[in-house]
């Protein structure tokens, strides 16, 4: 290791030798950096899970363009869209088909507790607007009061789901109706709901009697082959009038994630957690490095007498900072990956350690450590070679 660093630095790796000389302090410093890493990674993981759960709602549907109310900041927020806009949109030569999507939350009261099901209603003849894993279920929804349920729903026993079929449905009461669940698909739990459920538009309207068939939450639009989604979206925005939000599916997901990540308390809290983690890391590393500088003032003063310039000492401290960043990152990411798995098991939220996140945190750790090091170099002024005699 000493040889390797010597080759990289082109000088004796004094920082490395100093750090490894006091093993106890090195271990404490690494533990501190790892702790900060874990803090940041877990917050990022949960924030990422928030984004993931936002996308997974949209991902149940296949459409080129989504038309929503002006205040529909998320999939479930905001007002409704008049269904007449669907007919207007269908008049556009580049629009091939469209579907109205109704969304509501249904409470399924069970002995084990209430389960909040985010319920989507869509015409059973609109199977091609559903994700491939949902589409085969569309036909079964033709019968009134049937539903397919998300098998990832919290507290839903896998045994219950495994036996579902049209002849052996699971029945439960909700919204004053008796629902027959005839199938299951893989959706995912979210922050606001315990799971998803898909019903026909007619069943939806009977489950939610106060909703009107003329006022769905969103309009899903499929374009004719070869049509440019951006152009059609612009045209629809103009033709439909009002200030409706006409966006591609990808844009809708991105805007929703942006909104929930920066304007909703949950998103802000996770962002705040990241900041706290970074600050903790900077303070710990600063503490270690400035103590290290204070302990080696005499040596540094001697080096100054030998004729080393100021930048040499800065490079030693930065060397130490980057070593701590690297050594702290390894256990940090290992522990965080373990915690991701534990949180995933406990909550069902999709916490995923991506290479991008890991690299970003490593780069951030290095930057934070370098910043701490830069602050710690201010103590170098106290190393005065005249005091050595």
């Amino acid at each position: 290791m000493t040889r390797l660093l010597q080759r990289i630095l082109g000088r004796l790796p004094v920082g490395w030798l100093q750090l490894t000389h006091s093993r106890g302090r090195l271990a404490a410093a690494i533990a501190g950096v790892s702790f900060a890493n874990v803090l940041v990674l877990v917050q990022l993981g949960i924030a990422g899970a928030l984004n993931g759960t936002i996308a997974q709602g949209y991902d149940l549907f296949r459409a080129d363009i989504l038309i929503s109310a002006p205040d529909a900041n998320t999939m479930t927020d905001g007002g409704n869209v008049a269904r007449q806009h669907l007919w207007q949109a269908l008049a556009d030569p580049d629009v091939a088909d469209g579907a109205a999507l109704y969304i509501g939350t249904l409470t399924w009261s069970r002995t084990s507790g209430d389960t909040a099901l985010q319920t989507f209603g869509i015409g059973p003849d609109k199977g091609d607007f559903l994700a491939p894993n949902l589409a085969p279920h569309a036909a079964s929804l033709m019968r009134a009061d049937t539903a397919v349920i998300d098998r990832m729903t919290r507290r839903l026993e896998p045994g219950l789901v495994a036996t579902l079929s049209e002849t052996t449905p699971l029945t439960f009461e909700g919204g004053g109706r008796t629902l027959s669940v005839t199938g299951a698909f893989t959706g995912g739990v979210g922050f606001s709901a315990d799971g998803y459920m898909l019903v026909s538009d007619q069943t939806f309207l009977s489950l939610f009697p106060r909703r009107l068939s003329g006022a769905p939450n969103h309009l899903l639009i499929r374009l004719a082959p070869g049509a440019d989604p951006a152009q059609v979206a612009d045209r629809l925005r103009r033709d439909l009038g009002g200030d409706l939000r006409v966006r591609s599916m990808a844009d809708a997901i991105a805007e929703d994630q942006q909104y929930q990540g920066t304007e909703r308390p949950t998103g802000i809290i996770f962002g705040f957690g990241v900041v706290i983690g970074v600050l903790v890391g900077i303070v710990i590393v600063y503490q270690v490095l400035s103590t290290d500088v204070a302990d080696h003032l005499r040596e540094y003063a001697t080096f100054k007498a030998v004729g080393y310039p100021h930048r040499y000492f800065i490079s030693i401290i930065l060397e130490e900072a980057l070593i701590l960043a690297t050594l702290g990152f390894v256990p940090g990411i290992a522990i965080a990956t373990g915690l991701y798995a534990a949180l995933n098991t406990a909550t069902g939220l999709p916490l995923v350690m991506t290479v991008d996140t890991a690299l970003a945190v490593l780069a951030g750790t290095m930057a934070a450590c370098a910043l701490s090091g830069a602050i710690a170099t201010r103590r170098l002024a106290a190393a005065d070679p005249a005091d050595l005699f």
């Binding site: 082109g10 001697t302 004729g307 080393y308």
Partner: protein, 231 residues
């Protein structure tokens, strides 16, 4: 490298410590010209200012009044970068060895070489090994200072000061931690360097056992030169 006949020329040197009312003059009108290749010993009771004069000449302390010309550079008003560059042409041996505790004997000596740039080359390692051999530590190259005796540490410090072929060596009680024999060996080594390479040595010492090796003995008292003789 240009050979200066008198690498150190001190004229009218005054120095003060403290600020404002506490300001107190410590050095009074010191004049001293030291010829190349000589071994000069500064003597005097403690508090006489000999160490202050040494640090002023070695550009470890800013010159306040008077002139110090070191290797043809005026130190009064010299910028930090100039001071740092000059220090690389000097060697310092401190009373306390001041070795880096996390570095082995060899690495400590390498510190005296790497300051000249060029990175950690094999030639440097060889020079460091050779120098440690000369001070009798050829068997202790990879020892940390913590496992060396006081005398051995002091010899590593001597090796660190001399390995870069300094033009001037400043030493403060270099023999204090050494027994009579190794103390003499070190000073004889400095003297031989003066003969062979023209290395100039200025040494502060109380050690009477080595006075006979000096070319010149300067005695200070209360910040003034009171005696200047050749033994």
């Amino acid at each position: 490298m240009n050979k200066v006949a008198s690498p150190i020329r001190v004229t009218g040197l005054n120095h003060w410590f403290g600020k404002n009312e506490a300001r107190k003059q410590a050095i009074f009108d010191v004049n001293l010209t030291i010829p190349r290749g000589s071994l000069t010993i500064l003597m005097g009771p403690s508090g006489s200012g000999k160490t202050t004069v040494l640090t002023l000449m070695g550009c470890l302390r800013d010159v306040q009044g008077g002139s110090v010309r070191l290797l043809d550079h005026e130190l009064n008003g010299a910028r930090t970068a100039e001071q740092v560059a000059l220090r690389r042409r000097l060697g310092f041996i401190f009373q306390a060895h001041n070795l880096h505790g996390s570095l082995t004997a060899r690495q400590n000596v390498l510190i005296g070489l790497e300051v000249h740039g060029g990175g950690a080359s094999a030639a440097y390692v060889e020079a460091a090994n050779h120098m440690l051999g000369l001070v009798g530590l050829g068997e202790r190259l990879d020892y940390l200072p913590g496992s060396l005796s006081g005398g051995q540490k002091q010899r590593v410090a001597v090796a660190r000061a001399l390995v870069g072929n300094p033009e001037i060596v400043f030493a403060d009680e270099p023999t204090a931690a050494l027994d009579k024999e190794s103390g003499r060996t070190v000073v004889e080594m400095l003297k031989a360097l003066g003969r062979e390479r023209g290395t100039t040595t200025v040494m502060v010492t109380h050690d009477n056992r080595i006075l006979d090796l000096a070319d010149r003995i300067v005695t200070l008292e209360d910040g003034r030169i009171v005696d200047d003789r050749t033994p």
